[in-house]
Structure formats: C-alpha cells, structure tokens
C-alpha cells in the first residue's frame, strides 16, 4: 500500500538504470478505483512539466522508491496517450471532497489516496480528515473503498457498513479492505 502523496516526486527509472522523468501527479478514475497513469516533470530541481505522460499499462512496478518502466519508449505524448491523462486534473480530483455514508453521515474529507500496488494498481481507500470539530479525533483515518463508488465532484457516497472498518493507521488496513469487500459481496443479491 502506498499513498498518492508519496508517489508524487518519485523518479521514473528504466530497467537500464536511467531516470527519465519524475511523477508530477497521479491520475486515476474515482468511479472505477483504477489508476490511469501519471503526468510527469523533467528531472532536476528546475524540472518543468513534460509533454509526455505515462499510462499505467507502461509501468512495470510502482515501489516506494521509484516507478519502474522498461525503457523510455513507454513515455508517450499526453495527447496521444489515454485521453483521460490529458483531461484537466480538476475533473478527477477527489482531494478535499466530503465522504458521506448512504445514511447521510459525513465521515470526513479526503486528504490522500491509498493505492494497492501490483498489477492492477487499484485505489483501495482514502485517507480522511475529520475537520468538523470532533475534538476526540486527532489525525487522519483510513477508509476502505468498495470496488465501485458513486462520485459527484461534491461528495463521495459509501455504504454506512464501512464504519467498523475505518482504521487509524495503515498497518492492517489491507486486511480491513478485504474484510469490508467480503462483507459487501455477502450482501449482494
């Protein structure tokens, strides 16, 4: 599991050992919970935005220290890459969105995105901050996501049954995601 905020700035490295770019932003599809790819900056401390982007299909692995690709040819001009990568990022930005349960309870605001690395690079959860004034809660909580999600741009709607699966830290969060999804499958007709 890795947070999207930790992915930003990671070097994009070929198997030949060259760093060809670094991650500018993580682009994903909130409704499907799938990572689409990355927009890129040039390397170096004056790194400007690159015309090229990287779609997830070109990624060999997303690790804590680098995004690994086979070679530089995996980078594609953004216009030619998946159309989703060239859409304005605001369309897909869920950071700051309110998370509501289907019973109308606000759980908090999205402050980060939790990605399960591996072949599918699924977004399995959100880090949420409750800024509504409940003084007993300090620090963020981690919210498991169902595989499909209603997203409006204003709010995200999750089943109220998620509440027991909220976690205070990422240790054991993977299991919470699995348990929650297991429960949802059990309820499905």
């Amino acid at each position: 599991l890795i947070k999207a905020s930790q992915v930003i700035g990671l070097p994009v490295v070929t198997l030949g050992g060259d760093d060809v770019a670094e991650v500018r932003d993580v682009v994903y599809d909130p409704a499907q919970g799938r990572l689409i790819g990355f927009t890129l900056n040039a390397r170096g401390w004056l790194g400007r935005r690159m015309k090229d982007s990287l779609s997830w299909s070109g990624v060999l692995a997303l690790g804590p220290d680098a995004v690994m690709i086979r070679d530089e040819s995996e980078l594609a001009a953004t216009d030619e890459a998946t159309p989703a990568l060239s859409e304005p990022p605001t369309d897909r930005n869920v950071l700051g969105d309110a998370v509501l349960t289907d019973e109308g309870v606000q759980l908090g605001m999205v402050s980060d995105i939790i990605i399960e690395t591996g072949e599918r690079a699924e977004v399995v959860g959100y880090e949420i901050d409750d800024k509504s004034g409940d003084a007993k809660r300090a620090g963020p909580r981690f919210l498991p996501l169902p595989q499909q999600l209603a997203v409006s741009g204003d709010a995200l709607l999750v089943p109220a049954t998620v509440e027991p699966f909220l976690r205070d830290d990422l240790a054991g969060f993977g299991a919470a995601v699995d348990d929650f999804r297991e429960l949802l499958r059990g309820e499905a007709p």
Binding site: L10, P11, V13, T14, L15, G16, G17, D18, D19, L60, A61, L62, G63, P64, D65, A66, V67, M68
Partner: protein, 149 residues
C-alpha cells in the same frame, strides 16, 4: 576473480613500451551479456578506453595491455557518459525492478579471463550476476529478491 573495488587505481601499462598509460578509473559492463566490455583509464584529467580483448593480463599490481594498444578517447554516447562519471558503478544507488531501493553498490566481481561478472555486492549481501538488470546514470537495477524467476 577480480574485485572492481580493488582494481580501481591500478596502473595500466603498455605491453610494448612498458609505458604507464594511466590508472583504472572504472569498467563498462554490458548488462545483456553481463560481461565487462571496456576498462576506462584515467590519464591526467581525461578518461580513455581500452577494450576487454586488448588486455593481455590483469595482474595484482598492474594491467598490461597489448603492444599495439593505445587507449582511445570516448566515442559512443555510452562511453562519453562513462567518461563524465555518470556510469561509475561503485557507490551507485541500487533499485530493484519492483521499485524498492537497496542502498549502494559496494562491489562487482568478474572473471579475469572472460570478463564475465560473477557476483555483485549490495550493502552486506552478495548476489549472483544473474540478478543484475541494468546500470544507468541514476541507478544499478537488480531483480527483486521477491520477484519470480
């Protein structure tokens, strides 16, 4: 078997004139075949190159090259990058193919006769040459201890 760490700094001598040509600054490794292809030789402030098959002997105190051999200036992009210090191997950061960092490359051992890389040392671990995938300007890439095959 020669350790790159020990080799760096060793004299390079012409087998014809016994003239000192410089000292070893590093080696170029073809990661596809996992062989040392060239030795680069520091002479004054510039790096020159000697191909592996131009070397007569790698001795404990000196490398002796063939009588006709004179080290050449960098030509290919790869040689120019090496001469600029970008491909120096020792102390380079190590990444695996799953994107995990493993500290620095401590050493690389290769066979004196064939130039075949035998092992690489990453921090405290010694890995088989087969785990070496790439050597670039940013990192040495190895196969993850956790990935299959």
């Amino acid at each position: 078997v020669t350790s790159l760490r020990d080799l760096v700094g060793r004299r390079v001598v012409s087998g014809g004139t016994a003239e000192a040509l410089g000292e070893v600054d590093g080696v170029l490794v073809d990661t596809a075949t996992r062989h040392v292809t060239d030795v680069y030789v520091r002479h004054g402030r510039s790096d020159t190159f000697v191909s592996w098959d131009e070397i007569n002997a790698i001795g404990p105190d000196a490398i002796v090259v063939g009588a006709e051999v004179s080290p050449r200036a960098p030509q290919s992009d790869r040689e120019k990058a090496a001469a600029g210090g970008k491909l120096s191997i020792l102390g380079k950061g190590v990444l695996d193919d799953l994107g995990f960092a493993h500290g620095e490359l401590a050493d690389l051992d290769f066979d004196d006769q064939s130039g075949a890389v035998t092992t690489i040392s990453v921090e405290d671990a010694t890995l088989a040459a087969e785990s070496l995938i790439g050597i670039g300007s940013y990192a040495v890439v190895i196969r993850s201890p956790e990935s299959d095959g």
